[in-house]
Symmetry: C2
Subunit: 236 residues, 2 copies
């Protein structure tokens, strides 16, 4: 069993609409002496993906009504509301605060919406890295979500390409040969959370390499695999 | 910003009631050439902690009624029930399946209960490592929980010692000097999830070193910090 290495990528700088994240990130990784390799998983935060994809909207940060209208426009349905916090189901099916709309690390008077389709964003980066460097990598787009029952936020996947989102270990045996019962591991979410440990929130490191994941895990998953169908959800 | 290394510890073998996990794990880590160092965070899975603490109970795996009775005895309250899956709040305050009772990787006719107090378990290991090796480390006891809204299980912390459970970044500035609004990161949960990536479920690696976490994060947290109070929980 190999070890895992998690490498924050520094020097990425400000990202603008139309920038090639694949070019910028792979150049920054090479510059700091840790170029991307085959079977790396590259984790990229929502914020820079949204910026590169032009998912910015003018909104005064003090305009509460305008923000609520925007959250509604980005949501499939509103679940809960208290003061200026709204929990909704986004059009992607994510349950998160404020429809994932991001006010920090964006210019004054501008907010960042979630990428339209995180899997597409991830595939775009993965394909561009293949074209640039001739290597196959996994890509996870990450964002910071709250959770039911537990305090504190964790980074989770909002887009996946070239990596299993869920590892289905059902049917594999435990160390005593007994069949494991319920073990579907949310691989892409754990990868996103692991990457967050080197990215920090205030440090301007919007991407990280997770190196050393099992080769067999690099199959094509989708963030849709991480959305739990209502009929299956006894936790909510 | 340093990189992070996650090192699975092999060769730990079967654990019995009364075993010193600190001795066994630190010996195994040294044997494989990765001895524990100061400011490592050692992640240990619930299963071996429960075994070392004698938290085993006789129960035929096919005895559905006996299992339900045991889940009730270990629970503060039952939240949901369907077929043989029960979601309950354990006496620790965790919301999880089957009160965290573990049937896999235990002898036939025996199940493992959660440690009585995960923080105490973590402190015991941390103190014993200090006594053995003269180093200060963080310890996280991990278990595999399901979640509301999202499919797939992730490893989370059920006990913490010598590491912040939550990183409170409120009041710190983002890269543009604007105050970050809501950023309480569930550090111990992300550390547990990251460690899971090298431990696997069927591979017999019940402990891992997470090396390279910020020195400032090694303050004394508690798993209680990770339990979200009901009045604060719009996600459930």
């Amino acid at each position: 069993m190999g070890n895992l290495e998690i490498i924050g990528i520094e020097g990425i700088g400000e990202i603008s609409d139309g920038d090639s994240l694949a070019e910028i990130i792979s150049a920054a990784a090479a510059t700091q002496g840790s170029p991307l390799r085959a079977d790396d998983c590259l984790v990229v935060t929502q914020k820079v993906v949204s910026k590169a994809e032009g998912r910015l909207v003018a909104l005064d940060h003090d305009d509460t009504e305008g923000r609520l209208a925007l959250i509604e426009a980005e949501s499939h349905r509103i679940l809960r509301r208290r003061d200026d916090l709204v929990i909704s189901e986004t059009k992607h099916g994510f349950i998160c605060a404020n429809a994932g709309i991001d006010l920090s690390n964006v210019d004054d008077g501008v907010v960042a919406l979630l990428p339209k389709d995180g899997d597409t964003s991830a595939h775009r980066i993965r394909n561009a890295i293949r074209a640039l460097a001739g290597i196959e990598i996994g890509v996870v787009i990450s964002d910071t979500f709250g959770r039911a029952w537990r305090h504190g936020l964790t980074d989770v996947a909002i887009g996946v390409a070239g990596l299993a989102a869920i590892l289905d270990l059902r049917g594999e045996n435990d160390s005593r040969g007994r069949e494991l019962r319920v073990t579907e591991v949310a691989l892409a979410d754990e990868v996103a959370g692991a990457a967050e440990l080197v990215m920090g929130k205030a440090l301007g490191i919007p991407a990280a390499i997770v190196r050393g994941l099992e080769a067999a895990w690099f199959v094509d998953g989708s963030v849709r695999d991480l959305i739990r169908p209502a009929h299956d959800d006894l936790f909510r």
